[in-house]
């Protein structure tokens, strides 16, 4: 399936995937993140149940230095 992540197209072999599985695939398990799926925030507590569908748009953000 195809997922749009932070504005980029990403192709995955999986037909089904949860957000938890995606976070593992992207090597982001150690990072503190917030994720928005199709404009709605997905709470971290729901990552393991949140299923992804072909064409979903994700924003994955973190804290960086800023003033």
């Amino acid at each position: 399936m195809i997922i749009f992540i932070n504005g980029n197209v990403k192709q995955f072999d999986n037909e089904k995937m949860t957000i938890s599985a995606l976070v593992v695939t992207l090597n982001l398990t150690e990072k503190r993140l917030a994720i928005e799926k199709n404009g709605e925030i997905v709470p971290r507590s729901q990552f393991s149940e949140a299923k992804l569908q072909d064409g979903d748009k994700l924003e994955i953000v973190g804290a960086v230095g800023g003033g």
């Binding site: 992540i5 932070n6 990403k10 973190g62 960086v64 230095g65 800023g66």
Partner: protein, 264 residues
């Protein structure tokens, strides 16, 4: 304006009245050292897309500045609409486990980074309703500052001059009116260039100062961070102590007028 010993923001006391940003430093180690030297307890962070190609184990800001040690103030830097600002801060709240204290800034012009107060007011209304404690960056317009207070913002943060300009306080008179009118903390945010500017802001009666570039872009950021800490403290004490009145000249010298040696 308040004469409280500590800075109170949204019901929490802070002994430091200097708030600092975490951007523009050489590396995280320098960021940390400068923040330690500044004595700041509240630090701003930006919310950005995670670099997906990033290698695991790459250090992150949060490792150098653990959220348990500091009060994080996520900002909306780079947002040009109320919608983007609100969306960014909702993500920040999720990222920081329900943390409600935020810095709202909505810019109006990429060249000058001047705030768009109309979008700022629209975003502030939504955020306050949504339970956020909003520290709001704005122009030095006293009417807008008052409106932001009336909406329910927990602190109003007028600019001294444009973001990153280091031009210092260009309109102390407007700041004075804002401070006089406000029942919530007033912090100068943006434009401070050197320790003297920070001291002047505090002598005007500001409750605190938020800065980033003045420290990060100094030749020696860590030394400047210490200078800023002292300037904020000195400016605050100078304000509380109450300055002597200005007069063109004085007929009252500081040394005794009697007992002078005389010839003849």
């Amino acid at each position: 304006m308040s004469k409280n010993k500590q800075l109170n923001i949204a019901g929490k006391d802070y002994h430091s009245r200097l708030l600092v940003g975490t951007g523009k430093y050489k590396d995280f180690a320098e960021t940390r050292a400068a923040i330690d030297a500044s004595g700041a307890q509240i630090i701003t962070v930006a919310i950005r897309r995670t670099n997906i190609g990033q290698t695991a184990g790459e250090p992150s800001l949060l490792e150098f500045l653990p959220p348990e040690e500091f009060t994080y103030l996520p900002n909306t830097a780079g947002c040009y609409s109320a919608d983007d600002a609100v969306r960014t801060l909702r993500l920040a709240r999720e990222l920081l486990d329900g943390h409600n204290l935020v810095k709202l800034e909505v810019l109006g012009d990429p060249r000058t980074l001047y705030p768009n107060v109309i979008e700022t007011i629209a975003a502030a209304k939504v955020l306050v309703k949504d339970g956020f404690d909003v520290m709001v960056y704005t122009s030095d317009d006293p009417i807008i500052a008052k409106q932001l207070e009336d909406i329910g913002c927990c602190a109003v943060m007028p600019l001294a001059s444009l973001i990153g300009s280091g031009m210092g306080i260009l309109n102390p008179w407007n700041l004075q009116i804002i401070i006089e009118n406000a029942k919530i903390p007033v912090l100068v945010d943006a434009g401070v260039g050197c320790a003297g500017d920070a001291a002047i802001a505090m002598e005007l009666g500001c409750d605190g100062v938020l800065m980033n570039t003045a420290i990060a872009s100094a030749s020696d950021p860590i030394m400047m961070a210490g200078a800023m800490r002292k300037a904020i403290e000195a400016g605050r004490e100078s304000f509380l102590a109450g300055r002597m009145p200005k007069k063109l000249y004085s007929a009252s010298p500081s040394s005794p007028t009697s007992g002078l040696i005389t010839s003849g």
